[in-house]
Assembly symmetry: C2
Homo-oligomer: 344 residues x 2
Amino acid sequence: MKMNENKKGLIMEKQTITIYDVAREAAVSMATVSRVVNGNPNVKPATRKKVLEVIDRLDYRPNAVARGLASKKTTTVGVIIPDVTNVYFSSLARGIDDVATMYKYNIILANSDGNAQKEIQVLNTLLAKQVDGIIYMGNKISDELRVQFERSKTPIILAGSVDDKEKLGSVHIDYVAAVEEAISDLINHGNKKIAFISGPLNEPINSEYRLKGYKNVLAKNGIEFSSDLVFETDYSYHAGEILWPAIVSAGATAAFVGDDELAAGVLNGAQDAGVEVPADFEIVTSNNSKITEIVRPKLSSITQPLYDIGAVSMRFLTKLMNKEDVIEKTVELPYGYIKRSSTK
Amino acid sequence: MKMNENKKGLIMEKQTITIYDVAREAAVSMATVSRVVNGNPNVKPATRKKVLEVIDRLDYRPNAVARGLASKKTTTVGVIIPDVTNVYFSSLARGIDDVATMYKYNIILANSDGNAQKEIQVLNTLLAKQVDGIIYMGNKISDELRVQFERSKTPIILAGSVDDKEKLGSVHIDYVAAVEEAISDLINHGNKKIAFISGPLNEPINSEYRLKGYKNVLAKNGIEFSSDLVFETDYSYHAGEILWPAIVSAGATAAFVGDDELAAGVLNGAQDAGVEVPADFEIVTSNNSKITEIVRPKLSSITQPLYDIGAVSMRFLTKLMNKEDVIEKTVELPYGYIKRSSTK
DNA sequence: CTGTTAGCGCGTTCAA
DNA sequence: TTGAACGCGCTAACAG
């Protein structure tokens, strides 16, 4: 056997074994090799065996790039994520990757910081790389991004994110109802002045969903809405920690918080100021991440099946990539509410 | 202009614009288009301009797959990670991705759960996809994986992980010295019986590095080593939480912990048992992740530049992919120690 | 059941 | 400065 040799008979550097080498060694055509590699049943068991032996002996590994060019499918999907470092998103990502692996896909993960410009940049390189599908995570879809999404023939799913325009396929929970349930708990304990603490209100998830839920329950319970009780800040722990004085002056006796780290900040900020939680002040949060159980008292929280949202998104995407018919454009997963020690 | 039309003159579904379309529209050869796309200077400014206009008008986007096949470079690197959900690793991943983006690379992220079998599986699909390089994160390199690594012509770097065999390029801190410093603090406060709490001791980072550092300081300070004070468990919060009784019976008055979640568990477990931290018991931990500041009292910790470790790893990898000479196979980044309230 | 033949879209000589 | 032609490694008809 002499393969990949140059004129001087020396083994060359890039010793890549191709389907052609296998074909020659097994004394069949490359088409046949391709068939056994792709599990095509139209191959006589004997030849299949022979080919497999050669593949094994030569340690042949099909070149996915060539395959992608020929078949126009790369078996990789692009995942746009604001920040892997954020447990909320990484949980989704984990669900995505597991299901992707299950269906023989790989994911290209790209951080966007929720920055519109980066998102577009990333989308373009993803499309250039011919990904078979895209999963988008983020809290705000810019107009330009929306245009690109709609123009693209590549299937796209939003995971744990909402499209207020309701055009794109997405997987998430019923945020409005979830918030209503969480705040109901607070109201049932007699709280009348409940702070609404969230990230930027220009993000639909905060303004169109959570805040709406907040207003809904208040209305249902005959409590007047006051914008003084609405606190817009960023998602960090520190932002919550320094918020306490403002909460006090607003006269709130409880708070709904849209993010766990933020909630941990509020909790510790209150306690550092000598407040008893939940006796003097109650708190509910939104994502049930690990820190809800690490802080003391443990935080009552809305629960979201984050891993599942990611998993279902990816499953959804496989259907689209497979051109299967999907009935509903948006799938809503069940949420829950877990009562811990930050509420009475 | 009539491109991508079928016999009936209808625009076809897959309206992919190729370099060929651009060439025809600009009345040049595809070679020339290729040149301007790749920034080859040997193009007359006038033609370059003309081509760029057409590219813009047609919204042409070079097919990275075809490019990869022709050039044998995919500008994507594979990243093997135990679990994205773990902040320690996702911080590294973030650093990797940022630098990758900076150098026009994308990353394929694959979770391994630190499972030897999955790691090998993942490595193979990564190689099949012709990634230009690989970054490995994990606590234990199985023999088979090591063989595959060494046989592969694809550059590989370990990020935030150690290779006790010292064969592979890697980026990390001096774990031994860091542990020594952290424990010195404990010893300086008069502690004689210090618990060593870590993840699996079959992981070199725990047995070969951290435990060695532990033994070193003890020896330096004339304290006898006792295996009764060594606690091997897994990395979870819960594992730490239930460990307290065992720690008590061992008579420890302080503890070094190899993982933050684990440390948070130990901390809360102790406090739930009525112990005063740090008055009655001191704790230091290892990774300075966010939770060290969220728990009360806040945890004193070794600090590692996680983001930087990821970033430097990727930078390192770009050099290897670029076949540049690298002096040192392993780069050691500076660690630190931050004193908070879990120590006196 | 198997082989032949075209491309897939682009990079890259080699001439011109 | 430009173009023609070949090949990257593989899939997908189409024959046989």
